[in-house]
Symmetry: C2
Subunit: 203 residues, 2 copies
DNA sequence: CACTAAAACGGAGGCGCCTCCGTTTATTTA
DNA sequence: TAAATAAACGGAGGCGCCTCCGTTTTAGTG
């Protein structure tokens, strides 16, 4: 099924360390993909041996690519952010600006969901490795800014909103208690927010 | 995640919830003592089975008393703080005020040393369990305040210093890089600080 | 192609974690 | 002091972590 491997996480372009061998790259990608699922389902304590098995590689291979659990968590997290930012571009290309924004916010909810699963580990990582924090939060908020401004410019949402206000409005998603219906709640929050944004738009 | 009530251990005197059986109390104390040593020597990842063995109990006993590694770390840390505060009183009783202060600061260096060993775990614990942080930092700084004020009052050190300034001066111990000679450096820092405090004292 | 060196693979093995439960011990009661 | 019972003990067993190294695969080269 993996004819077209998804984008790699290590770009060989900028200060390229070394191009990975084809099989290595394939395994690395698969591992990250499976790990993302596993972490989302079982939390950060998901069994690494299980992940290796599900990715169809030996445990040794997993450890060669990701020497510690934290490494793996970090890579998964970066991919998540990467995917979120790419999604912003794609959605903007394929949908009216307001719809793109809404769809993207729904995806943002998914992203936060994984973040919750990784909570403890991520907290340590984000305070330890400050680059990680500034990298990711910067990228995400600028992706959102692009969508909001496009939607405002096209008249699909009101013009008097600032991207950072919208970000702030989404804050409730972070801070909400981790109830079982958290996801639905957040979905509704996004819809509500969109209604507010559309209200009084000129388009 | 699941946080438990503070659960004070040790002395059955301090508003005890339930008196522990004699053997249980003995084992619990011994475990905490051995663990303190082990953590200081080998870091937080010290083998719990080894700790149990050295304490002369089975691994099951260790887990009954301390369900998770974090529990054990927390108890060890609280004991450390406890010891530090008691030391302040004892030293004040048995030495001239300035000497007491100096000796106590040297002991404070030891305390910080264990804190460093426990760094990662403690950081998580201290952000997760905010009671722990306020409890301990409050107690330590007030112990120090007592010593400084006594020394100032007795004229052994200059009167125009504030305890929080001294605390601040010790800040360098925290932030110093974790070199092998860290301990010696810190010892010298304390001496230097004492010279500064004694300079111009009226006693 | 065939060959080779370098790169990557994978899983056995050793160790630590943690649970579970049969055995032992402290304390209470008579 | 002896019996009863609640509390504590301890270690075997199962599982996951991670390292080490013999085997396999890939990417060059003739």
């Amino acid at each position: 099924m993996a004819d077209q491997p998804p984008e790699t996480d290590e770009k060989p372009e900028s200060s390229a360390p070394k191009p990975l061998r084809a099989d290595a790259q394939r395994n690395r990608d698969k591992l990250a993909e499976v790990a993302a699922q596993a972490f989302a389902t079982d939390g950060v304590d998901a069994s690494l041996e299980e992940i290796a098995k599900r990715a169809g590689v030996g445990i040794g291979t997993l450890y060669r690519h990701f020497p510690t659990r934290e490494h793996l968590v970090e890579v998964v997290y970066r991919r998540e952010v990467e995917g979120l930012c790419q999604a912003a571009e794609e959605l903007a290309r394929e949908h009216p600006a307001d719809v793109a924004l809404e769809l993207w916010m729904q995806r943002f909810v998914d992203y936060i969901a994984t973040k919750r699963g990784l909570a403890t580990s991520l907290r340590v990582l984000l305070t330890t490795n400050s680059t990680l924090f500034s990298d990711t939060s910067g990228r995400v908020s600028s992706a959102m800014r692009g969508l909001v401004e496009a939607a405002a410019a096209s008249g699909k949402i009101r013009a008097d909103v600032d991207a950072s206000d919208v970000m702030h409005a989404l804050g409730g998603i972070y801070s909400a208690p981790n109830t079982p219906d958290w996801r639905e709640r957040s979905g509704r929050l996004v819809k509500l927010l969109m209604d507010g944004l559309r209200f009084g738009a000129r388009g």
